[in-house]
């Protein structure tokens, strides 16, 4: 791919819209699936897989309530949170390596778009001026500040292999060099990436998404002041980010099935394969969650330092072998 490729084509836009639709609908379904797996393993029947979508519908129809003393920040943040996730989903190579704006889908763009969402949510936590909101923001930013470098370094290791930090190009390169997926730097960065994804999306062992005990929560504490449609948007954004990060991780390491062309059946096929891959990864993470307990807050940095070291080793491995 030359740098002169036009970044917007009609098929690219269609593919991007499809990707956004996939994470908007697929994200909540993924959450439902993971909850279902957990319930089954624990011997319960569990809610239907589409329960998160039903919750979303219920929340969207409610009245909007804003906390006293809150400012415009509280109102704007849900939109920022959802749109940054949506744009990151539109340009990332999920279904195809040629979505709209693929030439500008640099890893730094995707990481910083997600960071923009995290920053926005942390500010929302501080906006109402309550104790718990600030606690959640502080903890989320602490974990984010340690997870983000590990994420960046994990992808640098892959970028060195491909000679570019453009994510669609890395995925396309991996498709052309099947052996890369098994190379030491890839495996090391896979380890780092999975830890980071777990931390960024607030899953066990970093955070427990189903807890409502104030002193242990991170993410839920930030969103305490949200109700109704805005709570719906924030939860939607959260599930979109989960879907996006899992899809990106799986595509960086097992890219097969991602459409390299945008014509014909390639895109529907790509979508089907993506859903299957992400669902499998989701089930695996869920099985792991059932078997593990949440870490103490101050052990999380050690876990993330582990991810950081793995990512550094991945870079070193990459520099030694190439």
């Amino acid at each position: 791919m030359g740098a002169a490729d036009t970044s917007i084509t009609a098929m690219g836009v269609v593919a991007s819209l499809l990707q956004v639709a996939a994470i908007v609908i697929g994200g909540p379904l993924l959450l439902g699936l993971m909850a279902k797996v957990r319930a089954r393993v624990e011997g319960r029947v569990g809610a239907p897989i589409h329960q998160p979508l039903l919750d979303l519908r219920k929340q969207m129809r409610k009245e909007r309530i804003h906390a006293e003393h809150s400012s415009a920040v509280l109102i704007v943040v849900p939109f920022v949170f959802v749109s940054t996730a949506a744009v990151a989903g539109a340009i990332a190579p999920l279904v195809t390596t040629r979505p709209a704006l693929a030439t500008s889908a640099d890893i730094l763009v995707i990481v910083y778009l997600l960071l923009a969402g995290s920053v926005a949510l942390a500010l929302a936590g501080l906006d109402a001026g309550t104790a718990f909101g600030g606690m959640g923001s502080s903890r989320a930013m602490t974990i984010g500040a340690l997870a983000e470098p590990a994420l960046l370094l994990a992808v640098v290791a892959m970028s060195i292999q491909s000679g570019t930090s453009n994510v669609p190009a890395i995925v396309a390169d991996t498709l052309n060099h099947p052996g890369w997926s098994a190379s030491p730097q890839r495996l090391l960065s896979l380890g780092a990436l999975i830890i980071v994804v777990v931390a960024e999306t607030g899953r066990i062992p970093v955070d427990n998404p189903s807890t409502h005990l104030e002193l242990t929560m991170i993410h839920e504490a930030m969103t305490l002041e949200y109700a109704g449609p805005e709570l719906g948007l924030v939860s939607l954004g959260e599930s979109m980010r989960l879907g996006l990060l899992l899809a990106l991780t799986v595509n960086l390491f097992i890219p097969w099935g991602v459409a390299e062309q945008t014509g014909g059946l390639a895109i529907p096929l790509g979508l089907a394969v993506l859903i299957a891959k992400v669902a499998m990864l989701g089930v695996l993470i869920s099985l792991f969650e059932v078997r593990s307990a949440k870490l103490r807050l101050f052990q999380v940095p050690e876990l993330l330092a582990g991810a950081f070291v793995l990512a550094m080793l991945a870079i070193v491995a990459g520099l030694v072998t190439t």
Partner: protein
Amino acid sequence: MTIPLFVVGLGIGVAGVLAGAVLPARIRVASIALLVSGACLVELLAAGSVLLSGRSRTFSSTAILPLAGLRLLLDPLGALFVAIVAFVGLAATVYLVRYAFAGLTTRSATACYALFVTSLLAVPAAANTGSFMFSWELMAISSLLLLLVEHRHRQSAREAAQWYGVMTQMGAASILLGLLVLGSHAGGQTFADIKSSAAGLSPTVRSVGFMLVLFGFSSKAGAVPFHVWLPRAHPEAPSPVSALMSGAMVSLGIYGIIRVGGDLLSGGLLWWWVLVIAMGVLSALFGALHATASSDLKRLLAYSTIDNMGLVLIGVGASGALWVTGRRDVAVLAMIAALFILVVHASFKGCLFLAAGAIERSTGTRDLDQLGGLIHRMKGTASVFAIAAFSIIALPPLSGFAGEWLLFQSLLHGFTDRNTTTVIALLAGVVAFALAGGLTAVAFVKAFGIGFIGRARSPGAGAATEVAGSMVAAMVLLAGPCLVLGVVPGLAIPLLAKAANVGLPSATPGPLVRGPNLELAGYYGAIEPALLLVALVVAGCLTWGVLKLVARRATRRAEAWGCGRELQTSRMQYTATSFAEPLQRVFSDVLRPDIDVEVTHVAESRFYEKALAYSNETDDAIERSFYRPVASAFRWWGERARRIQNGSVHRYLAFGFAALVMVLVVLA
């Protein structure tokens, strides 16, 4: 002979100095503001024309400086820095008009302010050692005096001035020595002489010269471990001066490194640049960590300046190292990245310091733990602070993001270099880049989230009002480039490429970056921030539309969740200190927090507490473990030396006689 425009600008600045020294108090501030902003505008024009045309302007006169003579040369590299200084200077001066308080309207303070801006403008144009050191010292001394404006009210200002005075004079002496070493071996004091004979100098002479100037320049740029003055001096100066120090003066330290190392000494040796990268890595990490832990807003900004200069030094060092090992295309990219970060840093850090001054003016404090809720009362300041803060976090599509992307790309493509030392240095650079990025986000979420939103934590913050319109306008002027250079970063690239061509010797390959967006030529990589912005706006509007369609119209306000408690006060909020506490605990080895809990009991019972005082302060580890021992050793020797000086005239006469005898003995 015709006098070039940039010399006219300097002349207007000098007129400002005289006006400040002579005019009566009534019209003093207004007239120096007029003259200094006029000088800045003229310099912007002059620098702009040099940058656009690529042609240098010169001026020399032996009438002004004796012996060496005044020699000025404005080439594209110098013009870029003149433009940076002039832009920040213009905004700071507009801000000054309504900001100036009693201490800042005195004769000496106004004259010093005009002198400070004028000398800042002169430094990048100086073309021989004499003119350079003259303007450099004027810059140092005038800023030192401005730092002392509030010394009657604050002991901390006096301490800061001591630190700053010592560090800046040691730095200046070292730069002078370095330039003299180079000049004496080159056989001339003009920069052109040094440049033309640099190739013939032995590597030892070049290294000694560069190491001497590197100490002075990196200390001016606030590079760790020579940074100790910066987090003291920048917060204590009046805010327009802080903005100039942080936005403009530190850049001149970088300018010196590029000018001497890259331009005059033609790139030099690999280990110089590895050393520069190492300083950059230390500065980025140390600055970012301390910025997250500081709860004094201006101190936080000062540490963040160290962090940003660290990134710039990583870029400059990578550029030099890659240049030496022959990866010239990536070297140019790294230089452009460093210059881009410098430009955007001047705009957002200048803006943030001015905003911090507005907050201090309006609430009477700059302690984040006492602030909160300012977004309701200072809407203008809050908006510009948000733009500048998000730009410094590097959120797309703001200017900081474009800068970080360029730096990231240059490090990434530098990894294919064959030299192992360079690759290891670049790896350290990437690690520092990644870690500092995450920490910066925490620092500025804290600054904006605790300072501007939530509820007021003190009566002062609760009674704040928006500052004067001209002060807000000055901040808007500086916030403008955060948006413009973020959305269309390509605008600045051709100008930066011209400056980079001077900073890196001999003919350079065409600029690596082209287009209104950023797109690498020869490597695969691009960002299109404008399209990204459009996509974000479309996504936001669509979400809003869906919400409007499905949600019920009614909105109401309700009490915030208080965990079952009846009463929530603003004191229950997280403060800046508590916000940073988890990270402070994680990095306690570096930050060494000094936590003190003092409990006062009720007289009747030991089991009931009457009052509880908690303090949590972080200490600068480098200052404690290196500078303070050195300073106390000096003090010890000084006190020993005082024993022989007891004020007795007889003793001094005896000393004189002894010395005379000794001289005679030696001569005989």
